[in-house]
Amino acid sequence: MSETTTNVLLCGVGGQGVLLASEVLSAAAMLSGRDVKKSEVHGMAQRGGAVTSHVRWGEKVHSPLIETGTADVILSFEPGEALRWSHYLRPGGVILTAKEPIYSVLVSSGAETYPEDVLQRLEERAGRLIPVDALQEVTALGNPRAVNILLLGMLSVFVDIPADHWKEAIQARVPKKTIESNLRAFERGRELAGS
């Protein structure tokens, strides 16, 4: 089905807003009239563990899971997480990622080392890599919690979902007071991805 199906894998760390992002993405895809499936796993930790979500849309979608080697885009909130799931990317696929690493307790306690060349490794595996200083960008826009929407703005440049549907989906799902700042973050994301 992947000829007509778009596959996006979202990943990050628990508490970063990955699941809200995948809700917004699914809603926008559904508004644009597609069949949509979304899958995620609630792991053991409420905060701080690895989180992924698969979102697929097209004419008819069966599997809720993306097959390895077929993701069109990996949308990542943390570069090490993008690396963990990079085998899902199709040849020539796009990785959009926040640059800031988040060290696990194992890295902090010295039991493991964090690959400092993570962006370079991602570059080798991606058709195209766009890393951004996501936290810095959204903090400048006045909403440090809007990293997820900034990243969706970037994603919107690479997938076929009309702008109105994105906006509607965002407005319906972020806290009311933050709609303005989130929409700004979305626009900024679009600029950063070069629209």
Binding site: G43, A45, S63, G69, G80
Partner: protein, 582 residues
């Protein structure tokens, strides 16, 4: 018909609501929890409640069905082990109002202590089983299952799996059909399961299975999708989706009523294709039944028994060589094990036990993460409740000296679920251990559900409250104290004293889960790099907000929990302080 984007759990809730369900109960457990939560949040017509545990849930739902109501009990796969006793007997006794027993299995163990295939239970208890493959089917099948249950007077084992429960898809929904309650009609010959009655009921249950087999041959839950006659696949549950993805041209027999099996339909299907596969997640149940029936097929020769299936595994198994893309090897990436949240009140207990070179007889909940480095203070975790009884047994097996190096660590919800009986056993059998009840006033691990000691019911209304310390005293524990885990020195002192004593005692560590009552304060810990000697004391807390930078600790202000000051308290050079933003 309206359209909604629903998870399998939400869709199942939608389905039973449409199907006229009157009553729902269950005990939380990933991946089943949101079924009841959805009913509580969206469907006021359905009376709904959290049960103390799964055995109680199934008994209460069974009683509701005897009383003539449409009823449901929900649980995760291991919950059905706890409820197995009433489940087996209810199958013989039979249902009056439609009765669904929902088991949500967790292949791949995303959030479970074992991997078990609960489809065995249907066969063992002679209880019909229904398995949806998608959110839409979770809704549709739930409505039909309630009807089938009443038609055949059978409880229905409604089996979900993690991927069905937690994936979302577009669902066409309808409105509720009010079904009148049948009222209570006693039927002691069916329901008083003493041997003379039960023997007859066993025969009755077998006869019911024969009728259901007939029914399955034509029932819409089982679907023959005609395709190529070269390859046919018998499949059920989530595996169906992967089959459609990797072999879109194959003929498929998709089973939704998966026990008893519709042999007429299966024989006809098998005869219509040249090569037959059975693709099922978990154990080779369909496959073995087909083979025992004399049908040649390929199953676990090409599909693994363990773990969760996914499209690439199914492709490798039944359509090798068809891969569109060269599958790549995963890149080595830093591991990110689950951790206790910043500010988690469970942390000090494990921190001190580790420092004191003690450990725990553990249990299941967020606090199981106390087993993971750097806390590393748990020796066992078997099943809910086993911390207390296991410690008692350790004392019997290895003597009080060995047992005194461990304390039993159990959460409040787990204590109510199945810890109380173990504690009574300790008192009765003169055990001397220390029991730590980690009371964060919620069932945290499964996403924060109320329970009998929180003072609220599933809909958030005030409810009668079990007083845990008073209960411990009432069953005969003389030494019971309550400690605030945010007071690091108090935690240490209490642990030291009670673990040194050869006498049964309970320490209740009480402080709400950080996700239960989110603090509005904007306060976070700041490390003064000048004063920080890089000694690592704060890092031993294993708090994900604390990172190590070059030669000092650093606290991520976005993750730090405002009310918590554990790192401030353990820093020997006073390099950490809390800063409050206005």
């Amino acid at each position: 018909m309206a359209k909604a984007f629903l998870s399998g759990n939400e869709a199942l809730a939608q389905g039973v609501w449409e199907g006229g369900l009157h009553f729902a109960t269950g005990y939380p457990g990933t991946p089943s929890t949101e079924i009841l939560e959805t009913i509580a949040a969206r469907f006021p017509e359905v009376e709904c409640q959290w049960a103390v545990n799964e055995k109680v849930a199934v008994e209460v739902a069974g009683g509701a069905s005897f009383g003539g109501a449409r009823a449901m009990a929900t649980m995760k796969h291991v919950g059905l082990n706890v409820a197995a006793d009433p489940f087996f007997s209810l199958s013989f006794a039979g249902a009056s109002g439609g009765l669904l027993i929902v088991s949500a299995d967790d292949p791949g163990m995303h959030s479970s202590q074992n991997e078990q295939d609960n489809r065995y239970y249907a066969r063992a208890a002679r209880c019909p089983m229904v398995e949806p493959s998608s959110s839409q089917e979770a809704r549709d099948f739930a409505i039909q299952a309630l009807e089938i249950s009443e038609q055949f007077e059978a409880p229905i084992l409604f089996r979900m799996t993690t991927r069905i429960c937690h994936s979302k898809g577009i669902v066409e929904t309808g409105s509720r059909k009010e079904v009148p309650r049948k009222g209570y009609k006693p039927d002691p010959q069916a329901r008083v399961l003493m041997p003379s009655n039960a023997r007859k009921r066993h025969e009755w249950a077998l006869e019911r299975a024969r009728k259901l087999e007939e029914f399955g041959n034509t029932c819409s839950l089982n679907r023959w999708e005609k395709g190529s006659s070269k390859v046919g696949v018998v499949t059920s549950g989530v595996a169906y989706n992967y089959v459609k993805e990797v072999l879109p041209e194959a003929s498929v027999l998709k089973l939704g009523l998966t026990w008893p099996l519709p042999w007429g339909l299966i024989e006809e299907f098998a005869a219509s294709v040249e090569k037959l596969y059975v693709v099922e997640e978990g154990d080779p149940l369909l496959e073995k039944d087909l083979k025992a029936h004399g049908i040649r097929c390929t199953g676990k020769e090409v599909i693994p028994i363990t773990g969760e299936l996914n499209p690439e595994i199914v492709r490798r198994g039944i359509a090798p060589g068809s891969a569109r893309a060269q599958a790549r090897e995963p890149a080595p990436a830093p591991s990110r094990p689950p951790v206790l949240c910043p500010g988690c009140p469970h942390r000090p207990v494990f921190y001190w036990l580790r420092r004191m070179r003690k450990s725990t007889s553990g249990d299941i909940g967020c606090y199981t993460l106390g087993a993971i480095p750097p806390l590393s203070a748990m020796d066992t975790c078997i099943c809910m409740g086993a911390s207390i009884s296991g410690l008692e047994g350790l004392e019997k097996g290895a003597g009080p000296e060995a047992a005194s190096t461990l304390a039993a660590a159990i959460g409040d919800s787990t204590f109510i679920h199945s810890g109380i009986t173990g504690l009574v056993d300790m008192v009765y059998n003169r055990a001397t251990g220390t029991v730590l009840i980690l009371d964060n006033e919620i069932t945290a691990m499964t996403g924060r559900q109320e329970h009998p000691a929180t003072g609220r019911d599933i809909r958030g209304n005030p409810a009668p409250t079990v007083d845990i310390p008073a209960l411990c005293k009432a069953v005969g524990v003389e030494r019971v104290q309550v400690v605030d885990p945010y007071d690091m020195q108090a935690v240490r002192a209490a642990l030291k004293e009670e673990m040194a004593r050869r006498e049964l005692s309970v320490i209740v560590f009480r402080r709400p889960c950080v996700l239960k009552e989110r603090s509005r304060k904007k306060s976070y810990a700041v490390v003064d790099p000048e004063k920080c000697t890089d000694c690592g004391a704060c890092l031993r807390l294993g708090c994900p907000a604390i990172e190590h930078k070059e030669n000092h600790a650093w606290v991520n202000p976005l993750f730090c929990y405002p009310e918590c000051s554990m790192c401030v308290q353990v820093c020997p050079t006073k390099a950490i302080s809390k800063k409050t933003d206005q």
